[in-house]
Amino acid sequence: MIPFLLRRILHGMIVALGVTTVVFVVTRLIGDPVKVMLPLDSTEEQRAALAAKLGLDGSIWEQYQHFCIRLLHFDFGDSLWQGRSAADIVLERLPDTLSLVGTAIALAVLFALPMGLAAATRPGGHLDRLLVGLSLTGLSVPQFWLGLLLILLFAVQLHWLPTSGDESLRHLVLPAVSLALPSIGRLTIMVRSTAIDEINRAYVRTAEAKGLTFGRILGVHVMRNAANPIITMAGWEAIRMLAGYSVVVETVFSWPGVGFLAVQSIERRDLILLQASVFTVALMVVLLTLAIDIAYKVIDPRIKLS
């Protein structure tokens, strides 16, 4: 267990370093950050002043070292837009993103499990076709469009739910549903195929021969064996949300999470805040990957860790 953990942590650190380097290279080499951050008609002196303030006047290699050392302290410098520590701003926004992604993934598993199992009981049957069709449709809908449609229906037409903000639990419903729908589709299909594979195994026949009800076999025997791929897949769905689609959904609903913050900092040309948000999300992704790997081992002791 311990060597396995160390190896995974090392891998996580390599990933974090990789992301850091990409962010650094992109912001320093390809585009001149000072030019991006200042308006087009800024003077030479203004540019030089900002460069000095941001520590951009050394050599590229010095800048890179400086950048990495500050990251170790979770220090990105002051946000240009808000004039205070970018790390603080990101940390204020992080709970919003985590609660949104957490709710969405819970919703996805809650719906996908029964739907996938129901579809697997009679592959090729009417219910199966219906559920697979619905899942494929669900995973084909762009989340931002779904979000806008939900706003039109539930906020504008019916006045049931608010369109944006994060003041109450009611505000969470529409963004979480938009974010969850494609995951519900993918997870349902995954649960279905895993369950079909398991149902054809010998132990299911044994259980049936013992006279157990099909519901019990499905709920206890099959689920135990299918749990691992399903949990892994759910973890990957959470990563997928965190690493991209939450940005889009947060923007549609003005949900004040890290993703929306990243978009706002692009609009305000605040590269420091953008770096801080991207790095924080990358860190979350690395931690989540680690958690999935550990869960894998805890749930199924048969897995050899190598």
């Binding site: 990789g18 962010v23 992109v26 494929l136 469009w145 690493a243």
Partner: protein, 302 residues
């Protein structure tokens, strides 16, 4: 029974109506892309402020001259959607082709040569898979400047790993097959072994994966354009039109509904087609289909 493989595939497709729907959508889109400028009733960028925010034809105030209504500048929604299909398909097709070729080649190299080469390539894949792809795409596009070519490059950067993983997995299993060993024993050049004996096994599963990735890339391009870091005006794309439509959500629902519907139908079509392709290409699934067909025929015979 007809034994011609092509007619058999066609008959198969006819039996599976969802797969047929998927293929129809894809073919229809290709027609739109090729003949778009001829088919579009108006110039997509033509501004007509006198006819701003006109609803679709079947509602009060709409006219059949502009079947799906107009946007905030009086531009024809239908024409913009027809032309907008080009951006989506161009990005989807080129990213799939480039990332697919690159990823497959690396995967084949990793699987065929094994050892150091394999672990080096797969390390890279593992590391890159763990990157927050879309977020990095957004930051790169925001800094470098959104251009169609940049969108393609950025999406390729986070799309090639799936192909490498899959190609490597298949090569690893096929490598052990007796006919591959035989070819190696009689002294075939590695390139010949890969080309003649290994590659044919890759074709069907990689094609299926490519169609699935095509669907994913279209969604990603729409999301990037929606956020304002993808396709830029005066060019059009479904995601971009959705972003402008968003500002008129409460007054002109059609600006949001139709482009979104176009994205959904396209992605759904690709997914359904891939689903059919997977079943047809997988020998195990084929057996089941065949058995089902035989049972159906025998049941109908007496």
């Amino acid at each position: 029974m007809n034994r011609n493989p092509l007619t058999e595939i066609a008959a198969d497709l006819w039996r599976d109506k969802t797969g047929l729907f998927g293929l129809t959508v894809i073919l229809l889109l290709i027609v739109l892309v090729v003949f778009g400028p001829v088919l579009a009733p108006h110039e997509p960028g033509a501004i007509n402020l006198a006819a701003r925010l006109k609803p679709p034809a079947w509602l009060d105030g709409g006219s059949w001259a502009r079947p799906l209504g107009t946007d905030h500048l009086g531009r024809d929604v239908l024409s913009r959607m027809i032309i907008g299909a080009r951006a989506s398909l161009l990005v989807g097709a080129s990213v799939t082709a480039i990332a697919g070729t690159f990823g497959s080649i690396l995967g084949i190299i990793a699987g065929y040569f094994g050892r150091r080469v394999d672990s080096a390539i797969m390390r890279l894949v593992d590391t890159q898979v763990a990157f927050p792809g879309l977020l990095l795409a957004i930051i790169i596009l925001a800094v470098v400047g959104p251009k169609l070519q940049t969108v393609i490059v950025v999406l390729c950067l986070n799309g090639w790993m799936v192909f490498a993983r899959m190609a490597r997995g298949i090569v690893l299993t096929v490598r052990e097959a007796p006919y591959v060993e035989a070819a190696e024993v009689i002294g075939c050049h590695p390139i010949r072994v890969v080309w003649r004996h290994i590659l044919p096994n890759l074709l069907a599963p990689m094609l299926t994966l490519a169609v699935l990735e095509f669907a994913r890339v279209i969604l990603a391009e729409a999301a990037l354009s929606f956020l304002g870091v993808g396709v830029q005006p005066p060019d059009t794309s479904w995601g971009l039109d959705l972003a402008t439509g968003k500002n008129y959500l409460f007054r002109a629902w059609w600006l949001v509904c139709f482009p979104g519907l176009a994205i959904t139908v396209t992605v759904l079509g690709a997914n359904l087609f891939a689903n059919w392709l997977r079943i047809v290409a997988d020998p195990h699934e084929r057996e089941k289909l065949f058995a089902a067909a035989v049972v159906a025929e025998e049941g109908a015979a007496p």
